[in-house]
């Protein structure tokens, strides 16, 4: 009989994470772009593990509340579970206090939760948090499963970032209109579809601005 996994006093998970499960986050793609009064978040629509693709219409861009979006990549159990946990906590805050959390405050909260779980059982999920706050405008936060958090103008998670970030570095300018932002997004997606190993025909695209959250069509 196999011995039960040893529980370490330090609180590290009993079985180290390895193999396809750990790599699944890299094979997915999440993109975020800030423009003039909006934040754009897009993610591929594959739900896959190892060599199998379960479905090609998974929506990985969650609506946290009427002014925040969160694109997540990683093992589905963690992304879905953690995303819903964050969503419900935002709702609880709003109902309890009659106020909405600002995007920086939400980023701080999310990062804190990731940090708390890091030395117990980390959430294997990489996130792009995008939001719009009246006075402060659009903001985008790049968070990863190691509980890092950075405010950025554009970002990408996954192996695709090797291709996408170069394009964004070259093409992104501050104050792009929505059309320009979608154009930049199209360039990124086109490059992924030409050069990346995994087949990613579909992307979900969402935008948040002063009027709230909208679902956009993938740029053709």
């Amino acid at each position: 009989r196999r011995a039960a996994p040893r529980r370490r006093a330090t609180g590290r998970p009993a079985r180290p994470v390895r193999g396809a499960a750990a790599r699944s986050a890299e094979m997915e793609c999440t993109l975020g772009i800030i423009g003039d009064g909006y934040t754009l978040i897009a993610a591929d629509r594959n739900a896959a593990r190892s060599i199998v693709c379960f479905k090609k219409d998974e929506d990985k861009v969650a609506v946290l509340d009427s002014s925040k979006l969160m694109g997540s990549s990683g093992s589905q159990a963690d992304t879905v579970c953690f995303t819903e946990y964050v969503q419900k906590n935002m709702a609880l805050y709003e109902i309890t206090n009659g106020l909405k959390l600002s995007t920086p405050a939400a980023a701080s909260f999310i990062r804190n939760e990731l940090a708390r779980a890091l030395r117990k059982g980390p959430y294997q999920t990489n996130l792009l948090l995008g939001g719009y706050d009246g006075a402060d405008g659009a903001s985008l936060y790049y968070l990863d499963y190691m509980a890092s958090s950075n405010k950025v103008n554009y970002g990408c998670h996954g192996y695709c970032s090797n291709f996408v970030l170069s394009i964004m570095d070259r093409e992104w300018t501050p104050g792009m209109t929505e059309a320009q932002g979608l154009d930049l997004l199209k360039k990124c997606i086109d490059e992924i579809q030409v050069r990346f190993l995994a087949h990613m025909p579909l992307f979900s695209v969402k935008i948040v601005d002063k009027d709230g959250v909208r679902v956009l069509e993938q740029p053709k």
Binding site: N97, L99, L101, P104, A105, A107, S108, N112
Partner: protein, 258 residues
């Protein structure tokens, strides 16, 4: 009748009252006066200090006015020892919020946390309520400058101007007639001193702490406890104005001789 139902804080009387909580509220009505006013550009608070005697070493920090966080402060009326516990609770709650959200805690949430803590002692047995009333002053991006009053029952309410402690009723009536929402901190400071003049037996610069919370244009918050010389000067003006007003009133009251 109340005697039978007032021994235990966790017992309702037949009329549906919690006598212990009411007695706690009563305790503060005997305590030193405190007054708070909301100005257009800040919040002003004043509190009566305990009697100063020659042998008493002046405290190193104010015994009435406490900084809760950069953007919030409180004035205490009642049992100082009880207040210290709650002040500490408030400070920890403020920092816990900042740790989690990276932003200063909205003032009402801070007040509510303190009040929820007070409420515990009105519902769970064995321990008496806190004999403290607080005036909370604060600023946040959601609602600007705010002033809250909380009592031992755990209830709190927002105020434009309010008075508590000894002779609070007369203080409150002065506020009702003289306070205007358009007043700035300078005018509110004068009014606070005027109220204290009426409610306190002997008002002097040593017997009150006068405080103002303001926000600078760059966003930094400034807590000012006015030094005694400044208070003394302002007090002179206020007392002079008061005497002039009283003299006028007396002159008007004299009947015209036919």
């Amino acid at each position: 009748m109340a005697r039978r139902y007032d021994g235990n804080v966790t017992t309702f009387s037949p009329e549906g009252r919690l006598h212990q909580v009411e007695y706690a509220v009563e305790a503060i009505n005997k305590a030193g006066t405190a007054v708070g006013l909301l100005a257009t550009d800040g919040v002003v608070m004043a509190g009566e200090k305990q009697k100063v005697t020659k042998l008493l070493e002046p405290p190193k920090s104010s015994e009435k006015i406490y900084k809760l966080d950069d953007h919030a402060a409180a004035v205490v009326a009642g049992l100082t020892a009880d207040a210290n516990i709650l002040i500490n609770e408030a400070r920890v709650a403020a920092q816990r919020y900042k740790y989690q959200y990276g932003e200063p805690i909205p003032v009402e949430q801070l007040v509510e946390k303190v009040c929820n803590h007070k409420q515990l002692y009105t519902q769970y047995g064995g321990q008496r309520p806190f004999g403290v009333k607080f005036l909370f002053a604060g600023y946040d991006a959601h609602f600007g400058y705010q002033l809250y009053l909380s009592d031992p029952s755990g209830n709190y309410s927002g105020w434009k101007a309010t008075c508590l402690g000894q002779n609070a009723n007369s203080g409150q009536s002065i506020l009702k007639s003289d306070y205007e929402a358009t007043m700035d901190t300078e005018a509110c400071v004068k009014l606070a001193l005027k109220v204290c003049n009426k409610t306190m037996e002997s008002l002097s610069a040593e017997s009150i702490d006068l405080f103002c919370l303001k926000r600078k244009d760059d966003g930094t918050m400034v807590h000012t406890i006015y030094p005694q010389e400044t208070v003394a000067k302002m007090l002179e003006e206020v007392k002079a104005e008061q005497e002039a007003a009283d003299a006028e009133k007396e002159a008007k009251a004299v009947p015209m001789s036919s």
